[in-house]
Subunit: 105 residues, 2 copies
DNA sequence: CCGGATCCGGCTCGATACTG
DNA sequence: CAGTATCGAGCCGGATCCGG
């Protein structure tokens, strides 16, 4: 994603690409949810209240960006678990700081 | 802005609104520029390479959000200087941290 | 010099189906 | 369960022209 391609080719440097991604619908919500631990598609859907389409799009982008890994289990019914990469988890303190800023004053 | 209204009414909480704003074209660039100190419209325009329209929109949004103050001088030719509010300057460490994250690995 | 007004193409999102 | 397909609406940004 912000290694090889771009979210939508508007931004040319990494920070702008990250911000552009996080500015999209649901991106922050999904990130926050997954920071609590690995979760299934359905769990994410009901907790974020996102349409499957939107959730699917964001997850795919995050996977391409190296922020999440997707684990597919060949069961019936099928089970898919999404988990943040170590790189993505390093975002936690930054997000905490940003939230703190947003909260105060 | 993210006190009373919304950027475009898509997000309902503050952090999402901030991220939604920062994800827009030029927002981060303008913020970075103004962190260097107060600047005129024309200066911002040539340094960010944004269309006047886009720059004007972002600045207005930032003003409404309490991130910048606008100083108008009744001269000929007119001079307008934009300056970050203390609240906006508190974003610097957060942005630094985010940039650092984006830079590494 | 500092923008505002307008027009318009494209992308994003929402809603509603529909499958492996 | 975990998505994809399709359609349509609406906003965003680019370009150009105009005004105080």
């Amino acid at each position: 994603m912000w290694y090889n391609g771009a979210v939508n080719a508007r931004s040319e440097n990494r920070i702008e690409m990250v911000l552009e991604f996080l500015g999209q619908k649901g991106a922050y919500l999904i990130l926050r949810q997954l920071l609590e631990g690995p979760q299934r598609f359905g769990e994410l859907q009901e907790r974020t209240q996102l349409l499957p389409r939107t959730l699917s799009l964001r997850l795919k982008e995050m996977e391409a960006a190296g922020l999440v890994t997707r684990h597919r289990f060949a069961e019936v019914p099928p089970r898919v678990v999404y988990e943040l990469t170590p790189r993505a988890e390093k975002l936690k303190p930054v997000m905490d700081a940003l939230e703190e800023w947003a909260r105060e004053a």
